[in-house]
Symmetry: C2
Subunit: 235 residues, 2 copies
């Protein structure tokens, strides 16, 4: 059965990149990029990632296996407009996706066909429609939400995400673009419950995969009542 | 050798409690409390926690073992003023710490002696002094930063923390009090590097323990350059 999945590399404080680059000067020299390369270092070093990018070398380790598995599991992608725009030039004639990509945008545009099985279809009627269209062509594989962060939040908020995998890098960045940021709004005393289904730990990165159960009320568990834990943290 | 440690239960989006209760009405009925009890549920259910609180029952599982180990490892505590104030009544005559506690505050106050080995010493010359005083009496055990979040951040920022353990609950809260929040400020292109030293996974909670290596510059790793990963996420 087709699942809707997302995965992202984040710092221990939840950032997937540094503070957004203002557009002046070289992105590669920005604080945004520096933090992005820190949290994705594990992937950039991995053989399976490098192979998709057309680079030689890399480590054939468990991290590489996870990247290979993630690419292999995806039958179609959903992507934010800024990511698609930003990637268009650097991905070149043969982007790493090798599957149909549905770009959520306000600007209509003809389908862009690339080599190696990647195509970009521009969807102007919203994220749910993009997910539906991706499901229709995923051929039983997963629909992967490729990012960026704001699209992942939209998919979570809309209740469309089935599985979330975070790759948690052992670093505190202090500022930047946060995946599960305050922009993800939930009603008071309501949460999104998940179930961890796999934890893979390496010195470089901790991979935690969750299935998303959906919204649930936060109900006070009074087995701890009697005053004990109530105030033990506040400061 | 005495290490300075901290551990806290957080949601997947990094919150240790819900949005701060404004002081009107019952804290136990607040959104702050509802989220706090969700992320600490694993502990409240654990036998070792309940024992320290004087409650019966609980699960004698690996989560309980981790709590027992954490209490056992601490020879002294450092605590924020609000936590100490908030806990004073509910902890009662025999607080769960059973060791000297050093409270960082601006208000001088005589040492408060409690039963079972717990004492509260009020330190008015800053967090570094409180840590030093705690080290001096920890008897070779660890100095545990008991919380709350703002004190943990201060200790991290000051470079005083040796070990951080996060207990990550499988829930997204969307808002609240965040441990590694934007209040933890670092210079541009500088990060705090950590090394994961232990991961323990249970269905209720994922425990990740890190040793804190300290500040390090974010250096662009150009092995991935050539355009590949540079823009793959932004949206």
């Amino acid at each position: 059965m087709t699942k809707v999945t997302a995965q992202m590399s984040v710092s221990l404080d939840g950032y997937y990149a540094g503070p957004r680059h203002d557009g002046e000067g070289d992105w590669m020299a920005s604080a945004e990029a520096a933090a992005f390369f820190r949290v994705t270092r594990w992937a950039i070093d991995a053989m399976a990632w490098r192979e998709r990018q057309g680079f030689a070398g890399g480590e054939p380790d468990v991290n590489s296996d996870i990247i290979a598995e993630t690419f292999e599991a995806a039958g179609a992608y959903v992507m934010g407009r800024r990511m698609a725009d930003g990637g268009e030039a650097p991905w070149g004639d043969e982007p790493p996706f090798r599957a149909p990509v549905f770009v959520v945008t306000h600007r209509p545009r003809a389908v862009l066909h690339r080599q190696g099985g990647t195509s970009f279809t521009y969807v102007t009627d919203g994220v749910a429609s993009a997910v539906e269209q991706a499901k229709a062509v995923a051929n039983g594989k997963n629909v992967a939400v490729a990012g960026g962060g704001s699209l992942v939040r939209q998919v979570i908020e809309a209740g469309l995400l089935d599985e979330l995998e975070l790759h948690i890098a052992p670093v505190v960045l202090g500022s930047g673009l946060r995946l599960l940021s305050d922009d993800l709004t939930l009603p008071d005393k309501e949460a999104i419950e998940l179930t961890p289904t796999r934890v893979v730990h390496t010195p470089q990165i901790t991979h935690i995969r969750y299935s998303v159960n959906g919204r649930a009320p936060l109900v006070l568990d009074d087995r701890g009542s009697g005053g004990g834990p109530a105030e033990i943290y506040s400061a």
